[in-house]
Subunit: 404 residues, 2 copies
């Protein structure tokens, strides 16, 4: 008789965005005349850039002729894309990464969930709190997180690194030494980040302690300050302690196109084994490559037209971020993020929980955001708004919030 | 200090297709004037059908306008695709499957590798021998297969069901009761299949023993005989014991487009838990949906134009299968498969191993096939040729083989 993987049963049923959806649906049904503005979910709204569309049309045409048809892609991705990635994202920044250290995938969500398969069952993970839920949940499913305490919202075998106002949202080295450290910088959900010097401190810490850093750089395109690193490989020694995950979702609007990549340097060894060989084996065994058409779209991101068009797209969203940041400031809120990231993180008014503020915003301003507590216990008392809406809606939302 | 998942180290380094690649490269280098015909790998060669190209171009255009742009897809796939699947692949065949039991994915390889995450660590799997390597390897990586015996080519904790000439390639109920049974029908690599009545026997066996069947129907489009089931859900009781995996790779040429789906009926319960809820949670946590453009391409497979064009495409490959089957017969080989599948499985000449025959075919006929032993110990003494080449090459290859 088959028995199931009981670790799945441990997952608390906290479907953050489904709860939000239900609350919004209920409010809309009761108030059909109200116009709701959604600044909750981190999904983009701008259409794909013309250079990308052109590349995709061309690739579709190629798939229609026997001479240019493409079947199974190379396991790790097409050379044309891996070379463009290395040239633009690494060589141009002085990072010593080779094309065969790039693994093209269908997105950073899959990669960030799958990467834990390379770790021993008893590995101890450390995460920032609040955090993107996939890092923890994928380890829960693998039975690596111990037991869940519903009251504290914490797992017994996970090391939490609170990122709150009091420490300027900069994680501190944990008391207990972790085997794996997940860092998402610039950060989802807080929209804050750390300096290159601070990141160098984490690289040194990981090398000294034999820990692996999983560095999620999904929001890298939004970095505006010179003191912030665009890749962890800008730091000395990162090749021996860090895997970097990158996404095309936020810099190029690929949330519905699906493309990402993972960098696994060949210098990265644990137990005398290269993680590069392990990840290559995983890719070869459990994955069959990103679609040719999508990889061509990815290459267009690095064309000169693509770069110019996407610079504008990012600027569009960052203008929204400015509108939200300034508007909330003027309305008297304590506001964070929004400078190197498309997320704005605000402190809820004294004595008001994240969900109470959600309800207030929904009913008073008809604006949907995301309660900070949905991202972890230290997110309680905070709230996230995203810059991914249209400019007009964003301006309107902030006018409503200021009138609240 | 991070420790790695040692199960990866257990995987024998038998990169079947990479070994083939090296042998072919060496031969080509030594004999640059010879023209090699590749009937080895199961990759398609015909371009995408016009109806599919049209749907993709249209979807690309939609992605270029804000009003029709698509960001994150629904977790389980777009309704338009799930409804088309249910209507054409299930309702039309009298199979009681609902749209919300369909999980759209990036392909059957990922699904067949990931599905084992739902099983308890100690579950015992049974596989046909020879077999598509992903079923076993994904369980090896999860530490579920015991130790590998290099001599026999077998894992201590895997139940092997030999499929050989002597039993007409029909797997027999194993002596030891498995928790999970992997069945790929029509079969890769043997190209053979079983009747609906025989499949009903497996469904009954699974229900009686509390086992789960993972039914890989990737080659369903090639079925030509009326006695063969197109879905396991044509069998009575399959909703309580079977998950079905389907691919768009071979019926629509999507090896480089990437689309598949998995059916998890809500009646499927083990330990009192619905596998449907578990798979939904996995999809939601570790995957972000197939690209909108690709799902539109998938829907075009079910349009009336798409169906007509793909019927021709399948017929094209099956004509090749006939050429190979008949040609080998005439040349005196014992030949199997090729009637309900695009693979032809032949017995190597007396006293000749799979790899010896590979070398013979390469050097004497300049034709590349796949040694049966690469798919498992019971594949020794057999050899696979695929019908996915061009008609002209296939005819030429068989002329050369007949002259050998």
């Amino acid at each position: 008789m088959l028995k199931i993987n009981q670790n799945y049963q441990k997952l608390p049923g906290s479907y953050l965005f489904s709860t939000i959806g239900k609350k919004v649906a209920a409010y809309t049904q009761a108030n059909p005349m109200k116009s709701i503005i959604r600044l909750g979910i981190g999904d983009v709204t701008q259409p794909l850039a013309p250079a990308i569309l052109q590349a995709m049309h061309q690739a579709v045409d190629e798939m229609g002729r026997a001479e240019t048809f493409h079947g199974y892609a190379p396991d790790l991705g097409y050379e044309f894309l891996r070379n463009a990635i290395v040239e633009n994202d690494y060589a141009a920044r002085g990072c010593p990464i080779a094309a065969d250290e790039i693994f093209v995938s269908d997105g950073a969500k899959s990669d960030s969930a799958n990467i834990q398969e390379l770790f021993d069952q008893n590995s101890k993970i450390a995460v920032c709190d609040p955090v993107y839920p996939v890092y923890v949940d994928s380890n829960v499913m693998a039975g690596r997180t111990g037991t869940y305490d519903g009251e504290s919202g914490m797992w017994s075998d996970v090391i939490y690194m609170p990122c709150v106002m009091e420490n300027s949202f900069v994680p501190e080295f944990p008391r207990q030494t972790p085997d794996v450290i997940y860092l998402c910088l610039p950060n989802n959900p807080t929209g804050t980040t750390i300096t290159k010097a601070q990141l160098q401190g984490w690289v040194d810490y990981a090398n000294q302690n034999g820990a692996l850093i999983i560095y999620d750089g999904a929001y890298e395109a939004y970095i505006s300050q010179d003191t912030v690193a665009h890749s962890i490989y800008e730091c000395e020694g990162a090749r021996t302690c860090a895997i970097e995950l990158k996404s095309f979702s936020k810099n190029a609007g690929f949330t519905g196109v699906r493309l990402g990549y993972t960098v696994v340097p060949k210098d990265l060894q644990f137990d005398g084994v290269r993680l590069h060989s392990m990840w290559a084996r995983r890719h070869g065994t459990k994955y069959n490559g990103a679609p040719y058409i999508v990889q061509r779209a990815g290459a267009a991101v690095y064309s000169s037209e693509g770069k110019a068009q996407l610079k504008e797209q990012v600027a569009y969203y960052m203008k929204n971020a400015g509108v939200i940041y300034d508007g909330l400031k003027e309305a008297g809120y304590r506001v964070f993020g929004g400078v190197d990231a498309p997320y704005i993180w605000l402190k809820t008014p004294e004595g008001m929980s994240s969900w109470e503020f959600f309800d207030l915003l929904l009913t008073e301003a008809n604006v949907v955001g995301t309660p900070g507590s949905g991202f972890g216990p230290s997110g309680e008392g905070y709230f996230r708004l995203t810059a991914f809406g249209s400019y007009e809606n964003t301006v309107e939302a902030l006018q409503r919030i200021r009138k609240m």
